[in-house]
C-alpha cells in the first residue's frame, strides 16, 4: 500500500524533473537536472525490487551524464569563439 503510493510519488517527481530537464532553455542546467532525473529513476528501480537494474542504471547514468557534459562543452566551444 505504502509502496504503491510511494512509487507513484516517485514517478511524479521523475516526470517533473524530466520535463524540466527537457524544456529548460539552458543546456548546461538541463544536463544537471538530467542527472537528478537519473537519480530518481535509480530510486524507482530499487523500489521495484530490481537492484541489479538499479545498480546498472546508477553507473550508466554517471557515464551518460559525463557524455552529456563533455558533449555540451564541445558544443559550446564554437559559440564562445
Amino acid at each position: 500500500m505504502m509502496f504503491v503510493i510511494f512509487l507513484s510519488l516517485l514517478l511524479l517527481i521523475i516526470l517533473i524533473t524530466g520535463l524540466i530537464a527537457v524544456f529548460l532553455p539552458r543546456l548546461f542546467g538541463s544536463g544537471i537536472l538530467f542527472s537528478a532525473f537519473s537519480f530518481f529513476v535509480v530510486l524507482a528501480y530499487l523500489l521495484l525490487s530490481a537492484p541489479d537494474v538499479a545498480f546498472t542504471e546508477a553507473v550508466i547514468s554517471v557515464i551518460s551524464i559525463a557524455y552529456y557534459v563533455i558533449a555540451i562543452r564541445e558544443l559550446r566551444k564554437g559559440d564562445l569563439e
Binding site: 537492484p51 541489479d52 538499479a54 545498480f55 546498472t56 553507473v59 557515464i63 559525463a66 558533449a71 564541445e74
Partner: protein, 150 residues
C-alpha cells in the same frame, strides 16, 4: 587552455577516487553471482576510473587518446566471450554450453568458471567501448575538416 582553474580539492578527490573505483570494479566483477552486479557493471566502473583520469589530463594530451587501440581492445572483450562459447563446440556441446568446457573441475563449477570467463570478456569490452565513445566525443569536434567523419 585554462584547464587548471578547477579547485585543488576537487582534483585531489578525483585522484583518490580512481584506485577505489578500480578495486570496486574488480570486486563487482568477481562477486557478480552473489550480489547485484556483474561483468557489465564492473566494466562501467572501471571505465569510470579511466574517464576520471582523462578528465584530469590537460587538453593537449587528451587529443592523442582517440586511438584505435581502445577500439581494438573493445573488440577483444567480446571475442573472449565468444571464444569461450565456441570452445564448448569441439567438446560436443552447443554454443555457450559451459558444462562441457575442458576444465578439470566438477560440472557445476565449470558453469561458474565459464560464466566468469564470459564476465571478464564483457568487462573488458564494456570498459573499452565506453572509453572509446568518451574519447571520440572529445576528438571528433576538432574543427579541421568539412565535418566528415571518414
Amino acid at each position: 587552455m585554462k584547464q587548471k582553474h578547477s579547485s585543488i580539492i576537487l582534483e585531489v578527490a578525483y585522484r583518490l577516487l580512481i584506485p577505489v573505483l578500480i578495486v570496486f570494479g574488480v570486486y563487482v566483477l568477481i562477486h557478480g553471482e552473489y550480489s547485484p552486479g556483474g561483468g557489465f557493471q564492473a566494466g562501467v566502473i572501471l571505465a569510470l576510473a579511466v574517464i576520471l583520469n582523462r578528465v584530469l589530463e590537460p587538453a593537449d594530451v587528451k587529443k592523442n587518446y582517440w586511438t584505435y587501440k581502445t577500439i581494438a581492445l573493445a573488440g577483444m572483450g567480446p571475442v573472449i566471450y565468444m571464444m569461450t562459447g565456441l570452445l564448448s563446440i569441439p567438446f560436443g556441446g552447443h554454443f555457450l554450453e559451459y558444462g562441457l568446457l575442458p576444465l578439470p573441475v566438477h560440472e557445476v563449477e565449470r558453469h561458474l568458471y565459464g560464466i566468469l570467463f564470459i564476465e571478464v570478456g564483457v568487462t573488458l569490452g564494456v570498459m573499452a567501448t565506453i572509453i572509446s565513445i568518451f574519447d571520440s566525443l572529445g576528438k571528433v569536434g576538432d574543427p579541421d575538416e568539412r565535418g566528415n567523419l571518414l
